[in-house]
Protein backbone atom coordinates (compact mmCIF):
# COMPACT_ATOMS: atom_id res chain seq x y z
CA UNK A 1 0.00 0.00 0.00
CA UNK A 2 2.84 2.33 0.95
CA UNK A 3 4.57 1.57 -2.35
CA UNK A 4 1.38 2.28 -4.24
CA UNK A 5 1.05 5.68 -2.54
CA UNK A 6 4.63 6.59 -3.39
CA UNK A 7 4.12 5.56 -7.00
CA UNK A 8 0.89 7.57 -7.16
CA UNK A 9 2.68 10.59 -5.74
CA UNK A 10 5.46 10.29 -8.33
CA UNK A 11 2.92 9.98 -11.14
CA UNK A 12 1.03 13.05 -9.90
CA UNK A 13 4.28 15.04 -9.62
CA UNK A 14 5.35 14.12 -13.13
CA UNK A 15 1.90 14.81 -14.51
CA UNK A 16 1.82 18.31 -13.02
CA UNK A 17 5.37 19.00 -14.19
CA UNK A 18 4.46 17.74 -17.63
CA UNK A 19 1.34 19.89 -17.85
CA UNK A 20 3.33 22.97 -16.79
CA UNK A 21 6.03 22.20 -19.33
CA UNK A 22 3.48 21.70 -22.06
CA UNK A 23 1.70 24.94 -21.25
CA UNK A 24 4.91 26.97 -21.01
CA UNK A 25 3.44 29.23 -18.34
CA UNK A 26 4.94 32.55 -17.32
CA UNK A 27 3.80 31.85 -13.74
CA UNK A 28 1.67 29.32 -11.88
CA UNK A 29 -2.07 29.93 -11.81
CA UNK A 30 -2.16 31.38 -8.32
CA UNK A 31 -2.00 34.90 -6.96
CA UNK A 32 1.29 34.54 -5.07
CA UNK A 33 3.06 33.40 -8.27
CA UNK A 34 1.42 36.16 -10.31
CA UNK A 35 2.36 38.91 -7.85
CA UNK A 36 5.92 37.59 -7.59
CA UNK A 37 6.19 37.61 -11.39
CA UNK A 38 4.99 41.22 -11.63
CA UNK A 39 7.23 42.27 -8.79
CA UNK A 40 10.35 40.67 -10.28
CA UNK A 41 9.77 41.32 -13.97
CA UNK A 42 8.13 44.73 -13.92
CA UNK A 43 8.67 46.20 -10.46
CA UNK A 44 4.92 46.34 -9.85
CA UNK A 45 3.46 45.31 -6.51
CA UNK A 46 -0.05 43.86 -6.62
CA UNK A 47 -2.58 43.17 -3.89
CA UNK A 48 -6.23 42.09 -3.89
CA UNK A 49 -8.70 44.97 -4.26
CA UNK A 50 -10.19 45.55 -0.79
CA UNK A 51 -12.91 43.00 0.13
CA UNK A 52 -12.79 41.40 -3.33
CA UNK A 53 -12.34 37.65 -3.63
CA UNK A 54 -9.98 36.04 -6.10
CA UNK A 55 -11.56 33.58 -8.56
CA UNK A 56 -8.57 31.43 -9.52
CA UNK A 57 -8.77 32.51 -13.17
CA UNK A 58 -5.51 33.21 -15.02
CA UNK A 59 -4.45 33.54 -18.67
CA UNK A 60 -7.94 34.75 -19.54
CA UNK A 61 -8.39 35.93 -23.13
CA UNK A 62 -10.91 38.73 -23.57
CA UNK A 63 -11.86 40.55 -26.76
CA UNK A 64 -13.89 43.68 -27.46
CA UNK A 65 -16.07 41.68 -29.89
CA UNK A 66 -16.59 37.98 -30.57
CA UNK A 67 -16.35 38.51 -34.35
CA UNK A 68 -13.09 36.70 -35.34
CA UNK A 69 -12.25 39.53 -37.75
CA UNK A 70 -12.17 42.02 -34.87
CA UNK A 71 -8.90 41.40 -33.08
CA UNK A 72 -8.64 43.97 -30.30
CA UNK A 73 -8.28 42.28 -26.93
CA UNK A 74 -5.76 41.09 -24.43
CA UNK A 75 -4.85 38.57 -21.75
CA UNK A 76 -5.99 39.04 -18.17
CA UNK A 77 -6.03 37.34 -14.80
CA UNK A 78 -6.25 37.25 -11.83
CA UNK A 79 -10.01 37.86 -11.75
CA UNK A 80 -11.71 39.25 -8.64
CA UNK A 81 -15.33 39.58 -7.53
CA UNK A 82 -16.80 42.22 -5.24
CA UNK A 83 -18.73 40.85 -2.20
CA UNK A 84 -22.12 41.56 -3.82
CA UNK A 85 -20.80 40.46 -7.25
CA UNK A 86 -21.70 43.84 -8.78
CA UNK A 87 -18.16 44.21 -10.04
CA UNK A 88 -15.89 41.66 -11.66
CA UNK A 89 -12.40 43.05 -11.97
CA UNK A 90 -9.30 41.69 -13.68
CA UNK A 91 -5.66 42.68 -13.80
CA UNK A 92 -3.49 42.44 -16.88
CA UNK A 93 -2.05 38.93 -17.32
CA UNK A 94 1.18 40.38 -18.69
CA UNK A 95 1.86 44.12 -18.41
CA UNK A 96 3.11 45.63 -21.63
CA UNK A 97 6.72 46.78 -21.66
CA UNK A 98 8.75 48.24 -24.50
CA UNK A 99 12.42 48.65 -23.76
CA UNK A 100 14.27 51.81 -24.68
CA UNK A 101 16.07 49.72 -27.28
CA UNK A 102 12.74 48.54 -28.79
CA UNK A 103 11.51 52.11 -29.01
CA UNK A 104 14.73 53.33 -30.59
CA UNK A 105 14.63 50.50 -33.14
CA UNK A 106 11.01 51.41 -33.94
CA UNK A 107 11.96 55.05 -34.35
CA UNK A 108 14.93 54.19 -36.54
CA UNK A 109 12.69 52.02 -38.72
CA UNK A 110 10.12 54.81 -38.92
CA UNK A 111 12.88 57.28 -39.69
CA UNK A 112 14.30 55.15 -42.49
CA UNK A 113 10.82 54.87 -43.99
CA UNK A 114 10.33 58.62 -43.74
CA UNK A 115 13.66 59.39 -45.36
CA UNK A 116 13.38 56.93 -48.21
CA UNK A 117 9.75 57.78 -48.90
CA UNK A 118 10.50 61.51 -48.79
CA UNK A 119 7.68 61.66 -46.29
CA UNK A 120 6.98 65.27 -45.36
CA UNK A 121 4.10 64.59 -42.97
CA UNK A 122 4.40 65.88 -39.43
CA UNK A 123 2.63 62.89 -37.91
CA UNK A 124 4.65 60.83 -35.47
CA UNK A 125 4.52 57.19 -36.56
CA UNK A 126 2.14 54.81 -34.79
CA UNK A 127 5.02 52.65 -33.64
CA UNK A 128 6.29 55.57 -31.54
CA UNK A 129 2.91 56.23 -29.93
CA UNK A 130 2.27 55.24 -26.33
CA UNK A 131 0.91 51.74 -26.02
CA UNK A 132 -1.92 52.96 -23.75
CA UNK A 133 -3.24 55.38 -26.36
CA UNK A 134 -2.88 52.97 -29.22
CA UNK A 135 -4.53 50.04 -27.44
CA UNK A 136 -7.38 52.15 -26.00
CA UNK A 137 -8.03 53.71 -29.41
CA UNK A 138 -8.16 50.23 -30.92
CA UNK A 139 -10.58 48.98 -28.26
CA UNK A 140 -12.97 51.92 -28.49
CA UNK A 141 -13.00 52.13 -32.28
CA UNK A 142 -13.62 48.38 -32.44
CA UNK A 143 -16.52 48.75 -30.01
CA UNK A 144 -17.89 51.57 -32.20
CA UNK A 145 -17.76 49.27 -35.23
CA UNK A 146 -15.08 51.31 -37.03
CA UNK A 147 -12.05 49.08 -36.69
CA UNK A 148 -11.25 45.40 -37.27
CA UNK A 149 -7.47 45.09 -37.27
CA UNK A 150 -4.58 46.69 -39.10
CA UNK A 151 -4.85 46.25 -42.84
CA UNK A 152 -8.44 44.98 -42.80
CA UNK A 153 -10.29 46.38 -45.83
CA UNK A 154 -13.45 46.76 -43.72
CA UNK A 155 -11.85 49.40 -41.47
CA UNK A 156 -13.74 52.68 -41.73
CA UNK A 157 -10.67 54.79 -42.44
CA UNK A 158 -12.39 58.14 -42.77
CA UNK A 159 -14.25 57.72 -39.48
CA UNK A 160 -11.05 56.48 -37.82
CA UNK A 161 -9.23 59.64 -38.88
CA UNK A 162 -11.91 61.72 -37.20
CA UNK A 163 -11.88 59.69 -33.98
CA UNK A 164 -11.14 61.98 -31.06
CA UNK A 165 -9.44 60.13 -28.23
CA UNK A 166 -10.19 62.90 -25.75
CA UNK A 167 -13.94 62.59 -26.28
CA UNK A 168 -13.83 59.10 -24.81
CA UNK A 169 -11.01 58.93 -22.31
CA UNK A 170 -10.43 60.71 -19.01
CA UNK A 171 -6.79 61.17 -18.16
CA UNK A 172 -5.68 61.68 -14.59
CA UNK A 173 -2.11 62.83 -14.14
CA UNK A 174 0.07 64.37 -11.47
CA UNK A 175 -0.50 64.04 -7.74
CA UNK A 176 -3.57 61.79 -7.93
CA UNK A 177 -1.87 59.24 -10.22
CA UNK A 178 1.18 59.23 -7.98
CA UNK A 179 -0.88 58.79 -4.83
CA UNK A 180 -2.98 55.97 -6.23
CA UNK A 181 -0.35 53.89 -8.03
CA UNK A 182 2.94 55.82 -7.94
CA UNK A 183 2.27 56.28 -11.66
CA UNK A 184 2.49 59.23 -14.05
CA UNK A 185 -0.99 58.99 -15.52
CA UNK A 186 -4.18 56.96 -15.49
CA UNK A 187 -6.44 56.53 -18.51
CA UNK A 188 -10.06 55.67 -17.72
CA UNK A 189 -12.76 54.99 -20.30
CA UNK A 190 -16.13 53.29 -20.66
CA UNK A 191 -16.18 50.80 -23.48
CA UNK A 192 -19.14 51.56 -25.77
CA UNK A 193 -21.72 48.76 -26.16
CA UNK A 194 -19.79 46.69 -23.65
CA UNK A 195 -22.51 44.06 -23.47
CA UNK A 196 -21.07 42.64 -26.71
CA UNK A 197 -17.60 41.83 -25.39
CA UNK A 198 -16.33 38.27 -25.40
CA UNK A 199 -14.45 35.91 -23.07
CA UNK A 200 -12.91 32.78 -24.56
CA UNK A 201 -13.46 31.04 -21.22
CA UNK A 202 -17.01 29.65 -21.16
CA UNK A 203 -17.71 30.20 -17.45
CA UNK A 204 -16.57 33.83 -17.56
CA UNK A 205 -18.48 34.43 -20.79
CA UNK A 206 -21.64 33.04 -19.18
CA UNK A 207 -21.18 35.36 -16.17
CA UNK A 208 -20.53 38.36 -18.40
CA UNK A 209 -23.60 37.70 -20.53
CA UNK A 210 -25.89 37.17 -17.57
CA UNK A 211 -24.70 39.90 -15.26
CA UNK A 212 -22.33 42.52 -16.64
CA UNK A 213 -23.53 44.87 -19.39
CA UNK A 214 -20.90 47.54 -18.60
CA UNK A 215 -17.13 47.57 -18.93
CA UNK A 216 -14.67 50.21 -17.82
CA UNK A 217 -11.03 50.09 -18.85
CA UNK A 218 -8.12 51.52 -16.90
CA UNK A 219 -4.57 51.85 -18.19
CA UNK A 220 -1.90 52.84 -15.69
CA UNK A 221 1.22 54.42 -17.12
CA UNK A 222 4.62 55.29 -15.71
CA UNK A 223 7.42 56.55 -17.90
CA UNK A 224 9.95 53.87 -18.89
CA UNK A 225 7.88 51.19 -17.15
CA UNK A 226 5.40 48.52 -18.16
CA UNK A 227 1.79 49.57 -18.72
CA UNK A 228 -0.73 47.96 -16.37
CA UNK A 229 -4.19 47.35 -17.77
CA UNK A 230 -7.27 46.69 -15.60
CA UNK A 231 -10.82 45.90 -16.68
CA UNK A 232 -13.97 46.30 -14.59
CA UNK A 233 -17.16 44.50 -15.58
CA UNK A 234 -20.21 46.01 -13.92
CA UNK A 235 -23.87 45.28 -13.29
CA UNK A 236 -26.45 48.10 -13.50
CA UNK A 237 -26.04 48.65 -9.78
CA UNK A 238 -22.26 48.27 -9.91
CA UNK A 239 -21.98 50.83 -12.71
CA UNK A 240 -23.37 53.48 -10.33
CA UNK A 241 -20.58 52.68 -7.89
CA UNK A 242 -17.88 52.62 -10.57
CA UNK A 243 -15.83 55.46 -9.10
CA UNK A 244 -15.85 53.74 -5.74
CA UNK A 245 -14.47 50.56 -7.31
CA UNK A 246 -11.77 52.54 -9.09
CA UNK A 247 -10.80 54.30 -5.85
CA UNK A 248 -10.70 50.89 -4.22
CA UNK A 249 -7.74 50.01 -6.46
CA UNK A 250 -5.67 52.73 -4.85
CA UNK A 251 -2.35 51.33 -3.55
CA UNK A 252 -3.32 47.82 -4.68
CA UNK A 253 -1.19 48.27 -7.77
CA UNK A 254 2.04 50.09 -7.04
CA UNK A 255 5.07 50.95 -9.19
CA UNK A 256 8.22 50.35 -7.16
CA UNK A 257 10.50 53.34 -7.52
CA UNK A 258 13.90 53.01 -9.25
CA UNK A 259 13.13 49.59 -10.74
CA UNK A 260 15.29 48.85 -13.76
CA UNK A 261 14.15 46.47 -16.49
CA UNK A 262 16.66 43.94 -17.74
Amino acid sequence: MKNFKIKLLIVICFLSLNIRAQENLLYEKEFSAYSEYLNNQYGIKCLFPKEFSEQGQYYVFWKVREDPAKHMGSMYGPVFLSPNEDCMLMYSGKPHFRSKKDIEIAKTVAFIEKVVNRDTSIIEPDCCMHFSRSQITGEITTALGLYYHRGNPLNNDSALLNFNFNDHVTIIAGKKAKEMFNADSIYIYDLPNADSGYFFDESLEKMRKEKYPYCTGIFIFKNKRAVMDVKLFLTEKGNKKKNEYIENLSNKIWYIENFLHD
Partner: protein, 199 residues
Amino acid sequence: MSKMSVKDMETMGQALQRLNIYKKKGLYQIKQTSGAQVNISEDLFDYITRGFEHTNIAYNPKSLNSFIPRLKSGNTEGGNTQPQDSTHCASYALAAMGGVNYATAAAYSDSTYGAGGVPADSMASFFYNFYPNGSSVNPDSLSGGFMGSNMIYFQTSDSTGHAVNGRQKWGNAIMYYDHQNNRQGIITNDSLRTIYHPW
Protein backbone atom coordinates in the same frame (compact mmCIF):
# COMPACT_ATOMS: atom_id res chain seq x y z
CA MET B 1 11.59 53.15 -50.90
CA SER B 2 11.08 51.25 -54.12
CA LYS B 3 13.43 53.72 -55.82
CA MET B 4 16.30 52.52 -53.69
CA SER B 5 18.24 49.41 -54.48
CA VAL B 6 19.08 46.68 -51.98
CA LYS B 7 22.64 47.97 -51.97
CA ASP B 8 21.48 51.52 -51.28
CA MET B 9 19.38 50.35 -48.36
CA GLU B 10 22.14 48.20 -46.94
CA THR B 11 24.62 51.05 -47.29
CA MET B 12 22.26 53.39 -45.47
CA GLY B 13 21.60 50.78 -42.78
CA GLN B 14 25.36 50.36 -42.24
CA ALA B 15 25.88 54.12 -42.20
CA LEU B 16 23.18 54.54 -39.56
CA GLN B 17 24.89 51.91 -37.43
CA ARG B 18 28.25 53.63 -37.72
CA LEU B 19 26.93 57.04 -36.76
CA ASN B 20 26.54 57.98 -33.13
CA ILE B 21 22.91 59.08 -33.09
CA TYR B 22 21.31 60.03 -29.80
CA LYS B 23 18.41 62.05 -28.48
CA LYS B 24 18.81 65.28 -26.54
CA LYS B 25 15.77 67.11 -25.19
CA GLY B 26 13.57 65.10 -27.50
CA LEU B 27 15.56 65.85 -30.65
CA TYR B 28 17.84 63.61 -32.68
CA GLN B 29 21.51 64.60 -32.64
CA ILE B 30 24.38 63.20 -34.68
CA LYS B 31 27.73 63.35 -32.97
CA GLN B 32 29.73 63.25 -36.21
CA THR B 33 30.07 66.37 -38.29
CA SER B 34 31.22 64.82 -41.54
CA GLY B 35 30.92 61.57 -43.44
CA ALA B 36 34.67 61.09 -43.41
CA GLN B 37 34.62 60.54 -39.65
CA VAL B 38 32.78 57.24 -40.11
CA ASN B 39 34.05 56.45 -43.59
CA ILE B 40 30.88 57.22 -45.55
CA SER B 41 30.42 59.61 -48.44
CA GLU B 42 29.62 63.24 -47.71
CA ASP B 43 26.53 62.94 -49.93
CA LEU B 44 25.16 60.08 -47.84
CA PHE B 45 26.03 61.89 -44.62
CA ASP B 46 24.25 64.98 -45.88
CA TYR B 47 21.21 62.91 -46.92
CA ILE B 48 20.92 61.30 -43.49
CA THR B 49 21.53 64.58 -41.65
CA ARG B 50 18.77 66.28 -43.60
CA GLY B 51 16.46 63.37 -42.85
CA PHE B 52 17.02 63.71 -39.14
CA GLU B 53 16.55 67.48 -39.29
CA HIS B 54 13.26 66.91 -41.03
CA THR B 55 12.24 64.30 -38.45
CA ASN B 56 13.16 66.66 -35.59
CA ILE B 57 10.77 69.24 -37.01
CA ALA B 58 8.12 66.60 -37.57
CA TYR B 59 8.37 65.34 -34.00
CA ASN B 60 7.45 68.81 -32.72
CA PRO B 61 10.29 70.07 -30.57
CA LYS B 62 7.85 72.03 -28.39
CA SER B 63 6.62 68.85 -26.68
CA LEU B 64 9.87 67.98 -24.96
CA ASN B 65 8.26 66.15 -22.03
CA SER B 66 6.25 63.95 -24.29
CA PHE B 67 5.42 61.39 -21.62
CA ILE B 68 3.27 63.84 -19.70
CA PRO B 69 -0.24 63.47 -21.07
CA ARG B 70 -2.34 66.46 -21.86
CA LEU B 71 -5.82 66.51 -20.44
CA LYS B 72 -9.09 66.65 -22.32
CA SER B 73 -9.39 69.25 -25.07
CA GLY B 74 -5.62 69.36 -25.41
CA ASN B 75 -3.69 67.72 -28.20
CA THR B 76 -2.66 64.13 -27.76
CA GLU B 77 1.01 63.59 -27.02
CA GLY B 78 1.27 60.84 -29.57
CA GLY B 79 -0.21 62.84 -32.43
CA ASN B 80 -2.40 60.84 -34.73
CA THR B 81 -3.90 57.78 -33.07
CA GLN B 82 -4.95 56.00 -36.22
CA PRO B 83 -3.20 53.07 -37.80
CA GLN B 84 -1.59 53.73 -41.13
CA ASP B 85 -0.96 51.02 -43.59
CA SER B 86 2.49 49.94 -44.52
CA THR B 87 3.71 47.26 -46.84
CA HIS B 88 6.59 46.26 -44.61
CA CYS B 89 4.77 44.32 -41.91
CA ALA B 90 6.72 41.13 -42.71
CA SER B 91 10.06 42.95 -42.47
CA TYR B 92 8.98 44.49 -39.19
CA ALA B 93 7.81 41.17 -37.71
CA LEU B 94 11.01 39.52 -38.87
CA ALA B 95 13.17 42.24 -37.29
CA ALA B 96 11.16 41.99 -34.06
CA MET B 97 12.14 38.32 -33.78
CA GLY B 98 15.74 39.50 -33.46
CA GLY B 99 18.72 38.61 -35.60
CA VAL B 100 17.53 40.29 -38.79
CA ASN B 101 18.09 43.92 -39.62
CA TYR B 102 14.90 45.73 -40.67
CA ALA B 103 16.55 47.75 -43.45
CA THR B 104 18.01 44.61 -45.00
CA ALA B 105 14.67 42.76 -44.85
CA ALA B 106 12.73 45.74 -46.25
CA ALA B 107 15.24 46.23 -49.06
CA TYR B 108 15.05 42.54 -49.96
CA SER B 109 11.25 42.73 -49.90
CA ASP B 110 11.22 45.78 -52.19
CA SER B 111 13.73 44.43 -54.67
CA THR B 112 12.19 40.95 -54.82
CA TYR B 113 8.46 41.66 -54.61
CA GLY B 114 8.16 45.37 -55.41
CA ALA B 115 6.66 48.21 -53.41
CA GLY B 116 3.44 46.29 -52.67
CA GLY B 117 5.10 44.17 -49.98
CA VAL B 118 5.52 40.41 -49.71
CA PRO B 119 2.66 38.60 -51.50
CA ALA B 120 0.72 36.03 -49.45
CA ASP B 121 2.07 33.09 -51.44
CA SER B 122 5.68 34.27 -51.08
CA MET B 123 5.72 34.69 -47.30
CA ALA B 124 7.44 31.35 -46.75
CA SER B 125 10.25 32.01 -49.21
CA PHE B 126 10.72 35.50 -47.73
CA PHE B 127 11.00 34.01 -44.23
CA TYR B 128 13.34 31.16 -45.19
CA ASN B 129 15.62 33.56 -47.05
CA PHE B 130 16.53 35.03 -43.65
CA TYR B 131 16.00 31.95 -41.49
CA PRO B 132 17.10 28.98 -43.62
CA ASN B 133 16.96 26.74 -40.53
CA GLY B 134 13.58 28.07 -39.45
CA SER B 135 10.33 26.14 -39.49
CA SER B 136 6.63 26.69 -39.99
CA VAL B 137 4.31 25.34 -37.34
CA ASN B 138 0.73 24.22 -37.52
CA PRO B 139 -1.17 26.36 -34.97
CA ASP B 140 -3.19 23.33 -33.85
CA SER B 141 -0.04 21.45 -32.88
CA LEU B 142 1.26 24.25 -30.64
CA SER B 143 0.92 23.79 -26.91
CA GLY B 144 -0.52 26.64 -24.87
CA GLY B 145 1.36 29.35 -23.06
CA PHE B 146 4.12 31.81 -23.81
CA MET B 147 5.18 31.60 -27.46
CA GLY B 148 8.66 33.13 -27.48
CA SER B 149 10.15 34.43 -30.72
CA ASN B 150 8.01 33.88 -33.80
CA MET B 151 6.20 35.53 -36.67
CA ILE B 152 2.55 34.81 -37.42
CA TYR B 153 0.87 35.53 -40.70
CA PHE B 154 -2.89 35.89 -41.15
CA GLN B 155 -5.13 36.65 -44.05
CA THR B 156 -6.84 40.05 -44.33
CA SER B 157 -8.57 39.49 -47.66
CA ASP B 158 -8.50 36.94 -50.47
CA SER B 159 -5.17 38.19 -51.72
CA THR B 160 -3.62 40.07 -48.81
CA GLY B 161 -2.32 39.28 -45.34
CA HIS B 162 -0.59 40.78 -42.36
CA ALA B 163 2.43 39.65 -40.35
CA VAL B 164 2.79 40.21 -36.59
CA ASN B 165 4.49 38.52 -33.61
CA GLY B 166 2.67 35.91 -31.49
CA ARG B 167 2.93 36.20 -27.71
CA GLN B 168 0.62 33.82 -25.91
CA LYS B 169 -1.54 30.88 -26.91
CA TRP B 170 -4.68 29.77 -25.13
CA GLY B 171 -6.92 27.05 -26.59
CA ASN B 172 -7.48 27.89 -30.23
CA ALA B 173 -6.59 31.56 -29.82
CA ILE B 174 -3.32 33.49 -29.96
CA MET B 175 -2.62 36.92 -28.51
CA TYR B 176 -0.26 38.82 -30.77
CA TYR B 177 1.64 42.09 -30.73
CA ASP B 178 1.72 44.26 -33.81
CA HIS B 179 4.89 46.36 -33.68
CA GLN B 180 3.71 48.53 -36.54
CA ASN B 181 0.88 50.14 -34.62
CA ASN B 182 1.90 49.17 -31.09
CA ARG B 183 -1.26 47.18 -30.37
CA GLN B 184 -2.19 43.77 -29.02
CA GLY B 185 -4.88 41.63 -30.54
CA ILE B 186 -6.30 38.12 -30.43
CA ILE B 187 -6.71 35.86 -33.41
CA THR B 188 -8.18 32.37 -33.69
CA ASN B 189 -6.38 29.48 -35.37
CA ASP B 190 -8.81 29.36 -38.30
CA SER B 191 -7.76 32.88 -39.39
CA LEU B 192 -4.08 32.01 -39.27
CA ARG B 193 -2.10 31.07 -42.32
CA THR B 194 1.18 30.09 -40.67
CA ILE B 195 3.40 30.50 -37.64
CA TYR B 196 7.12 30.77 -38.35
CA HIS B 197 9.80 29.92 -35.81
CA PRO B 198 13.45 30.90 -36.23
CA TRP B 199 14.62 27.37 -35.42
